[in-house]
Amino acid sequence: MRRSMLFLPGNNPNMLINGNCLGSDAVIFDLEDAVSPAEKDAARILVRNTMRYMDFRGCELIVRINSIDTPYWQRDLDAILPQQPGLILLPKTGTAKDVQEADAYITELEQKLGFAPNTVGLMPLIETALGVENAFAIATAADRVQALFLGAEDLTADLHCKRTKEGREIEYARTRLVMAARAAGVEVYDTPFTDVNDDEGIYKDASYAKALGFSGKASISPRHVGAINQVFSPSQADIDYAYEVMDAIALAKEQGKGAIALRGKMIDAPIVARAEQTIAMAEALGLGRSEQ
């Protein structure tokens, strides 16, 4: 479950060591944009050590390495992969070939380390017009790909347009990415909301992303994590309805009925699938059916 993913600058000890206390389901240790070229080596070692020595139970670790057109990405992987991150976030992914190049190197390292194949997942960061247009090909370029991730800041620069709070300029990219990811059977995560002090704005933006089909949302500020978690958690009404659906299905089986209606609506396979997802997520969050 990755409702929220919090970016933490890779060369800032104070942020890294407290990463598991900030409430997000996953943290993204950033070796790319948050680190100046002169400190790439320092950040790489610091992130590696943080992963090696600190206890991050209950918080998935994701590392954003440098893009494959830089001299850093292979050394990033050399240092980080032995620590078994949950996912590698690959910036500026534009084509299926980019994914395959990273995948080949990770496969090589996994073999050296004695890891089972695809132990470490890959999450291409789509932040160019080329990447958006190739989204499905990227999502299906390797079995290692577990999710797509939208990066709106670089994308809007590439589109020659302004990034706005309303986000009309990334409407196409958002829907395109959700479509491609779902078609490929992988998860899809939304770009951070960048106004740290707009508590209402983050709630709106996250709600909209959820409505479009995103599985979760990244954040650059711990202040946004609470709102994102809330938006991407099932509501009590969702949970209660899901249990009602499962009850109705059980009853139908008992009575030997093939089809059954609940609240005047036929329960079909997609509704059952959605109910199962909701219950699984509620259980993971320790939430239950309301008492009545």
Binding site: M15, N18, C21, L22, G23, P222, R223, G226, G286
Partner: protein, 468 residues
């Protein structure tokens, strides 16, 4: 009409009849911008007086010239509620022959009013005064707002000298301390540096860990059962405490709760809560920023209270007795919930109780906010270096790594657990922090008492030893 105006501080000292071995007193409303204590002590030294006891509500880094007077035996005894590092460090190194006495903001006026700590001459810095001694902190270029800590000094000292830099015509309107207590008035060029008196604005923290703690703190208050109409609240001026107040404000507005009063040292954040309708009034013993000063001057709902009204245990009642929730800080807290705010991690004096133990004793819920560790040092220890506030008065510790509830407060623990908050055992929290930081070596304890921590009821709570 003959006035009480005298030409200089020196003349006031001479007229007051101050002699060797006597006690003088000062308030700390001008905080780190205060000129008055230094000016007075300089005259006392110049007059050749010795063996003076200084009873100050607090001492700040600006008061380090006192070191010279200590060295020359002009000053041989000190009582204060708070001493910052500039003087605290040398005191910890043992510059005083007699241990410094630490009191609390409630204990100090209590001991003064009961005659336990008689004052011979009180010197009261007043941002505005008239020639007969009516004075106020609300007006003038050195405005500090409330003069709450000066009332006991004015009422009980044998002689009272008001020192101002804004002399106005008699009678001063809206005075705080009235002329019937005042013997002499001195007008000087400046009683303080406005930059050090109040902050421009006090800021909530941007530190992510601070924000996480603040969020948890607000949720603890929400789940405590105390957050309902009539709710009363005090918080310190620390970044995380202010952030907690800001989150609490959101909860109160969302739920439509109208509290009764905000208490204590008042910041702009509590003023905002007053304006937003979270409280009916503010009871203000000290202003921390310009917004608070402006508010106490112009808004009748924002009222000045004396330190006796604020927190004295020998008052017929004090505001802290009606307090629901207080948020406090700590440099250390031990597994019995005893809190240290007097010394730093190396044992040097750099603070004091202020109103810490008074509000903890009075409030229904006394909450400590502190990170699990600061600069590699775990906040939870087996035994604090110095007990500033006894553990029996502390209900809950909020850290980014979980919330520890004092076992004596069974109901609170149940409520927080039911609300899904991350309640952890104090011992487990200590171990969790030590797994991250490593276990620190215990510091060797000095062999000489440098300070006594006197509880609000006048009894000795703990002794602080020198640092080797």
């Amino acid at each position: 009409m003959e006035t009480k105006l005298v030409k200089s501080i020196r003349e006031a000292v001479q007229l007051s009849g101050l002699k060797d071995g006597m006690t003088v007193s000062f308030h700390h409303h001008l905080r780190n911008g205060d000129f008055v204590l230094n000016m007075v002590m300089e005259e006392i030294a110049a007059l050749g007086l010795k063996d003076i006891f200084v009873n100050a509500s607090s001492l700040f880094d600006v008061h380090t010239p006192m070191l010279q007077h200590i060295e020359n035996h002009v000053v041989t005894g000190i009582s204060a509620d708070y001493i910052s590092g500039g003087l605290g460090r040398p005191i910890s190194q043992g510059i005083m022959d007699k241990p410094v006495q630490f009191r609390t903001h409630g204990g100090r006026p209590s001991d003064i009013s009961l005659g336990r700590t008689p004052i011979d001459v009180a010197f009261i810095a007043a941002p505005t005064a008239d020639p007969m001694g009516n004075c106020s902190g609300k007006y003038g270029k050195s405005a500090c707002g409330s003069l709450g800590y000066a009332f006991a000094d004015a009422m009980y000292a044998k002689k009272v000298v008001v020192i101002t830099d804004n002399l106005v015509q008699y009678p001063l309107q809206d005075f705080s301390i009235s002329e019937d207590y005042v013997d002499y008035v001195v007008c000087v060029d400046a009683i303080g540096d406005p930059k050090g008196i109040v902050s421009g604005t006090t800021q909530i923290t941007r530190d992510p860990v601070g924000l996480v703690m603040a969020d948890l703190a607000a949720k603890v208050i929400e789940a405590s059962g105390l957050l309902k109409d009539g709710f009363s609240f005090q918080t310190g001026a620390g970044g995380a405490s202010l952030a907690a107040a800001s989150f609490l404000k959101d909860i109160m507005l969302k739920k439509g709760i109208q509290g009764s009063f905000g208490l204590g040292g008042i910041t702009g954040y509590l003023v905002d809560m007053l304006h937003a309708g979270c409280f009916r009034s503010l009871l203000d013993v000290q202003c921390f920023d310009l917004k608070a000063v402006e508010s106490i001057r112009s808004d009748p709902r924002h009222q000045e209270i004396s330190a006796m009204h604020y927190a004295s245990p020998s008052s017929r009642s004090a505001a802290v007795d009606s307090l629901d929730v207080v948020i406090l800080g700590a440099t250390e807290i031990d597994t019995d919930f005893n809190v240290n705010v007097h010394t730093d991690s190396n044992g040097y004096i750099m603070g004091g109780s202020g109103g810490h133990s008074d509000t903890a004793a009075g409030a229904k819920l006394a909450m400590i906010i502190a990170p699990m560790f600061r600069a590699r040092l775990p906040i939870v220890t087996d035994r604090v270096t110095c007990i500033s506030t006894p553990g029996r008065d502390i209900d809950v510790l909020v850290t980014q790594g979980g919330i520890a509830v004092n076992p004596k407060n069974v109901e609170l623990k149940q409520r927080l657990t039911a609300a899904g908050l991350p309640v952890v055992d104090m011992q487990a929290l200590k171990e969790k922090a030590e797994r991250i930081t490593g276990k620190p070596n215990r510091l060797p304890k000095g062999d000489r008492a440098v300070a006594e921590v006197i509880y609000r009821d006048g009894t000795l709570l703990d002794t602080i030893y020198n640092v080797k």
